[in-house]
């Protein structure tokens, strides 16, 4: 029985280090290769020893696909390809290919240069890893080899985020990566066609949330920023350099313009301008509105938002600062946070999800005293606001995608176990016949597939059948067609039996039966024939029964003749002759006539 096997190495009942292994039709695919923000030890990367204990991964994997540039989806890529060893193709979209190495380099710098870790991947490894990348265009069918094909769909999570369909023969898997079903200020909504995969592997970050309308959240966000700035406070918004940051910049930029506000807005790190440049060059990946107006006004050229310098953090007066990274686990955002945390006039707005173990997560769970490195504690007096701006599908969105793709099974990853449980029940309730899985890391889910068998049918046979069926065949009276399946090498051809004989150079063997049935029927031969005709006509409803002028009766292709017995004119002999092809009817007729004619 053919089957698909799915094993998460990361993101199984967890958010972070997404890495899912899929075996389908004899092919092995790795979906994403992320790192975990909450760990600094081995658990940071997926456990590749699951694939093989010794040596390189190349011979065990047919391809690697990266869904988008966030580090929890691509952060382990250079480690996997250069340190564990993988030389096969790595697929990602153009924007991901452009941005991913920058974030990896950033990550490397923080880890190695700032924290002084050794045994980590180097800049050169990032470069070598990126050389293995094959860019992927939306909706393009990429033939990885003769059997394995992949196709990317728009996911709307960040610039260049993609969902991917993996197909071998008639078996298929869809992996969503992270996605968003509602268009936002800079990206469009995820979309997929009714591709009916055997399994849909979906993220479930917001499995239990049905988020209120985006407009409300935006208004709320602007109000909070505005109030803080008005009372002279500073607003820190930890973000990742690309993604939500651009959306919030567009939001603040238009608000500042409309309200004619003067407080400075800064964006940390040199990445910003570069980041915005990527958005300009990949404008085809943004939403409809931005694409339509980009010639007149490029939304990513900001007037009010300036580059941040470290020294500005100590400037008096109100300001808004976007700083990286988004979970306050390291870098500039954490430094600024430390400076501002003691003042209750200030505010930090967390616009996205925070992984367990990060400062961001601790803040959001309400901790007021944070233990920092070097055994110091930091007292948190500033206001902490959480606002879900991260572009993940909520429960409603996940259900919507299931409706779009019509999968046979659903697997939830990239979420918390408890929340998944809830969504799993909901999915199985709402979609009868769909099984939902939520494996933990290292746990393999096996899904039997039931592929139909593609066969080449001769056009003659097909047309003959179609002609019988008419334009609208009656579904209650299906017609059975007969053909011969010829199996030679790997080809399967269905032809008419006559054609099969001819092609295989076989003789036809005619098997015939002849039967004489005696009847006591005191009439003339012609009258008896008529009586036979009437009897058969009344019994054989739906059959063609003909009384022919040459003194015979024909039932379909079986001929009946009547003659008198030489000895007794009242004894009639009905002669029936039929071929094996009409055996059922011939046998029936002979038995029927043996019982005599009705009076």
């Amino acid at each position: 029985m053919p089957e698909i096997k799915v094993t998460p190495l990361g993101a199984g009942q967890d958010v972070g280090r997404s890495c899912i292994l899929v075996s389908i039709g004899g092919k092995n695919i790795m979906l994403d290769c992320g790192m975990h923000m909450g760990y600094n030890d081995d658990r940071r990367f997926p456990d590749f020893s699951y694939i093989t204990q010794n040596g390189r991964l190349t011979e065990f994997l047919d391809c690697v696909i990266i869904s988008h540039f966030h580090l929890d989806h691509c952060g382990a890529l250079p480690y996997m390809s250069e340190m564990v060893g993988y030389d096969g193709p790595i697929y990602m979209t153009h924007p991901t290919k452009a941005i991913c190495p920058i974030l990896l380099e950033d990550f490397r710098k923080i880890t190695v240069d700032k924290k002084g870790e050794t045994n980590f991947f180097t800049s050169q490894m990032i470069k070598d890893c990126m050389k293995k990348v094959v860019p992927l265009n939306l909706h393009q069918t990429v033939q990885v080899d003769d059997e394995l094909e992949i196709k990317a769909y728009y996911a709307g999570h960040v610039l260049g985020a993609a969902m991917v369909q993996i197909k071998v023969g008639s078996e298929s898997v869809v992996y969503t990566g992270d996605y968003n079903m509602t268009p936002d200020r800079h990206l469009g909504a995820a979309w997929i066609d009714k591709c009916r995969p055997d399994i849909l592997i979906s993220e479930s970050t917001y499995a239990t949330t049905i988020r209120d309308s985006k407009r409300c959240r935006e208004r709320d966000f602007l109000k909070k920023v505005h109030e803080t700035v008005e009372r002279g406070g500073k607003v820190l918004i930890p973000v990742f350099a690309l993604g939500r940051a651009q959306e919030l910049c567009i939001l603040l930029e238009t608000f500042w313009e409309r309200m004619n506000l003067k407080a400075p807005i800064y964006f940390s790190t040199g990445l910003t301008e570069k980041a915005n440049h990527y958005y300009k060059l990949f404008i085809t990946w943004t939403n409809q509105k931005i694409r339509k107006t980009f010639v007149q006004r490029n939304m990513f050229e900001f007037k009010h938002i300036k580059a941040f310098d470290r020294s500005y953090a100590d400037n008096p007066g109100p300001m808004v600062v976007f700083a990286t990274p988004g979970m306050l686990h390291a870098g500039q955002s954490l430094q600024i946070f430390k400076k501002w945390a003691g003042n209750e006039k200030n505010m930090v707005i967390m616009p996205g999800y925070c992984v367990q173990g990060t400062v961001g997560h601790k803040l959001l769970s309400g901790q007021k005293k944070l233990e920092m490195e070097g055994r110091t504690t930091l007292e948190v007096k500033l206001q902490v606001e959480y606002m879900s701006f991260s572009a993940h599908a909520d429960a409603k969105g996940i259900m919507q995608l299931i409706r779009m793709a019509e999968p046979r099974n659903v697997m939830l990853v990239h979420g918390e176990a408890k929340k998944m449980e809830f969504l799993k029940d909901k999915i199985e309730q709402e979609f009868t016949g769909i099984s939902c899985f939520m494996p933990a890391n290292g746990e393999t889910t096996t899904i039997p597939t039931n592929p139909s068998v593609p066969v080449d049918i001769s056009l003659n046979l097909l047309k003959r059948e179609a002609a019988f069926g008419g334009p609208l065949p009656d579904p209650k009276k299906p017609r059975t067609m007969h053909g011969t399946l010829i199996m030679k090498d790997s080809s399967l051809r269905l032809v008419s039996p006559e054609q099969a004989l001819k092609e295989l150079d076989l003789n036809e063997h005619q098997l015939r039966f002849t039967c004489r049935v005696q009847l006591q029927d005191p009439y003339s031969d012609t009258d008896t024939l008529s009586r036979v005709y009437n009897h058969l006509k009344s019994v054989l409803k739906g059959y063609t029964v003909q009384h022919l002028p040459d003194g015979t009766v024909m039932v379909e292709s079986i001929v009946l003749k009547v003659s008198s017995s030489a000895e007794d004119p009242n004894t009639k002999v009905v002669l029936l002759s039929w071929s094996y092809q009409d055996e059922d009817l011939g046998s029936f007729l002979s038995s029927l006539l043996r019982k005599g004619l009705p009076p």
Binding site: V455, H482, E498
Partner: protein
């Protein structure tokens, strides 16, 4: 069961063909023949005393006078009316029956509004995103050129056959002038383009479940594509406007064209004798020479395409040629959009340009030319341009026919001075015809046509590589050009020879479909019992129910007969006739005498008298009063009143035979 092509368009580089394949009607491209505008007088943007003073035309004997409609200039006659185009033939087929239109590049979609609007067309148009966006710009520009110079007069008398016959020169030879049409409106453009569905290279698009179409990179322009039209068994490649040269677009995908049954070849270079690289060199040197001498350079061009390459070439050339202070102007209502759009289609560009966006930098260097103020672009000659205009300068502007657009103004302005030069780079129009209404002209004219599309040498190489079974092409490609009839290298020479087509011709494509894909449901597949009939060949009889939906065929197991209600069962068991039309399989093989006799014996039939006949044997089963005739190709059982015996004999015979 075969495919058929027909041809509403006539221009080999602006194709418009229709392919009927598996009951799907597919229009291949929608090119607009604009050479008709050459018969018209130019549309000046500002009043031109010269043009308005041209004498009206009167026949030599004075009998026919069309002074208002026709003007004479330097011995030629021009129609004084809004220029008209020659759209694809519309009588040949009912446009409402077209299911889809496949567009290969933005130059080949300019007739779209004539096909999709007011014709009952309800189909879908497929094009790549750059093709749609740049095609829209080119249409917008065309409409803008026409609409900003309203002309009250509409000349029609000259089209009268009797009158046209009397006219001199090229106008007399113009064909099908009655079908010529005015330019469409922006509203029609928007409506036509709303029917476009975007596709990416190598995207498989299913049409009605019957046919799959896939665009492939053709290397000619941004988003330009060749198309594969295929079923599971037949493959037609449509190769239109392809280039093997390394310019800005993604290279041509050749390997996917392999294994084609039919390859339709159109859009070859119009100037097979000119080498694009050489032309580019000549373009630069003529430009520099004119500027150094204090003259101006006019480059009539389309707003997208080769201009990107010209600007890139100049970017490298400007400093070395000491042209750093010369202003370069690009004037078009869509100049800005065209330059901006060119920078956002990285996915559709050659590797070299693609990798630039990873830095991130704009893929085309004209961004830098604009930033450093070396290149300036304006929507038209009025407004800002008139204030900033400095001479000597280089102006890129349209339309390359010299009949409308800002180029008309510059021809009038610079035509009288021999210091100035007009350099023709677009190959679509004969430069002599284009210049005719401006004669006499003092300005220098240089002809550097740059056409990067395939030449005959490259085609031969390509076809050798992809090996299609049959090639179909416009008849122009099957003979040398009329002016160079000795050049047998300027035609397609193939074995088997290509099948030529001409405007309005209908062509049967040379393949017969013999198979169709069908799916056996897993339950059915599992129930099959294969038997090996020859070494390596097995057969299985299949009895199944055919289901066809959206042109997809599926075979299901036949339904199990409904159980007869038990109460009626006994009474009606015999009267119930067998299910209608359930024929048994065909049989093959022979029944050998001795083993058959042994088998009979085993079943208690021992009294058998065997009689030899010329073709076999007759077996008398004496106790049972039954005959069995055994022959090589047949067995005949004559058994009168013993039905159980007949059934036993049947089954024994069947043991020796194969079922098909």
């Amino acid at each position: 069961s075969s495919a058929e092509g027909n041809t509403p368009g006539c221009h080999p580089t602006l194709p418009c063909n229709v392919l009927k394949f598996k009951s799907t009607t597919i229009m291949l491209d929608c090119g607009l023949d604009t050479t008709s505008v050459l018969h018209f007088l130019p549309l000046p943007l500002v009043h031109s005393p010269r043009l308005s003073k041209l004498p009206g035309w009167i026949s030599k004997d004075g009998a026919v006078s069309l002074e208002k409609e026709l003007k004479e200039c330097a011995g030629r006659v021009f129609v004084d009316s809004l220029p008209e185009f020659c759209p694809p033939e519309r009588e040949l087929l009912d446009l409402s029956t077209i299911d889809v239109i496949l567009i290969s590049n933005y130059h080949c979609m300019m007739a779209l509004p004539y096909i999709t609007e007011h014709t009952g067309f309800t189909g879908t148009v497929y094009a790549t995103e750059p093709t749609l966006q740049i095609g829209r710009l080119l249409m917008e520009e065309l409409v803008n050129f026409m609409e900003r110079v309203p002309k009250a007069q509409s000349a029609t008398c000259w089209k009268n056959k009797e009158i046209q016959r009397l006219l001199p020169g090229p106008v007399k030879e113009a064909v099908e002038v009655w079908t010529w049409r005015r330019c469409y409106s922006m509203q029609e453009v928007n409506s036509a383009l709303s029917k476009v569905q975007l596709v990416g290279y190598s995207q498989k698009v299913e049409l009605f479940g019957a046919v799959q179409v896939t665009p492939l990179s053709s290397g000619y322009s941004l988003g330009s594509s060749n198309w594969i039209i295929q079923s599971h068994y037949e493959k037609v490649s449509y190769v239109s406007g392809s280039s093997l040269l390394t310019t800005h677009p993604q290279p041509m995908d050749q390997s996917s064209l392999k294994n084609s049954d039919v390859l339709i070849l159109t859009g070859l270079t119009q100037i097979p004798t000119a080498n694009p690289d050489g032309m580019l060199g000549e373009f630069c040197s003529n430009l520099a020479m004119t500027i150094r001498a204090g003259g101006n350079v006019l480059v009539p061009c389309y707003s997208s395409g080769v201009i990107y390459d010209l600007l890139e070439c100049l970017y490298q050339f400007i400093d070395s040629a000491n042209l750093g202070s010369t202003p370069f102007y690009f004037i078009s209502p869509v100049a800005n959009s065209s330059l901006e759009f060119s920078q956002i289609f990285a996915e559709w560009l050659c590797q070299n340009k693609q990798s630039k966006v990873y830095l991130p930098e704009p893929p085309f260097p004209h961004a830098e030319l604009i930033q450093t103020n070396k290149l300036k672009h304006y929507p038209g000659i009025h407004g800002d341009f008139s204030n900033e205009f400095r001479q000597p300068c280089v102006v890129f502007t349209g339309h390359p026919s010299l009949r409308f657009g800002d180029v008309v103004h510059f021809m009038e302005l610079w035509g009288k001075s021999s210091l100035n030069t007009v350099i023709f780079t677009e190959p679509d129009f004969s430069y002599l015809d284009a210049l005719a209404p401006y004669q006499p002209l003092a300005m220098k004219c240089v002809y550097c046509p740059i056409d990067t599309r395939l030449n005959f040498h490259q085609v031969a190489k390509l076809l050798k590589e992809v090996q299609p079974l049959h090639v179909v092409c416009p008849e122009q490609y099957t003979q040398p050009p009329p002016t160079q009839s000795h050049r047998s290298d300027l035609m397609l020479e193939l074995q088997p020879p290509p099948m030529p087509y001409r405007r309005c011709s209908v062509l049967g494509l040379p393949f017969r479909r013999r198979y169709e894909r069908i799916q056996l449901l897993p339950e059915l597949a599992k129930s099959l019992v294969p038997s090996e009939i020859k070494p390596g060949i097995s057969v299985a009889t299949v009895s199944a129910v055919l289901h066809t939906k959206d042109n997809k065929h599926v075979l299901q197991p036949p339904p199990k007969p409904a159980p007869v209600p038990p109460s009626k069962k006994r009474k009606r068991v015999v009267e119930e006739p067998p299910e209608l039309v359930t024929p048994k399989p065909l049989l093959s093989g022979a029944v050998p005498l001795e083993p058959f006799l042994a088998l009979l014996h085993k079943h208690g039939i021992t009294e058998v008298k065997v009689e030899d006949t010329p073709d076999g044997h007759i077996l008398h089963l004496q106790a049972e009063d039954t005959l069995i005739q055994l022959e090589e190709d047949g067995t005949h059982i004559v058994c009168d009143s013993n039905e159980p015996l007949r059934a036993t004999l049947r089954d024994l015979v069947l043991r020796f035979l194969q079922k098909l």
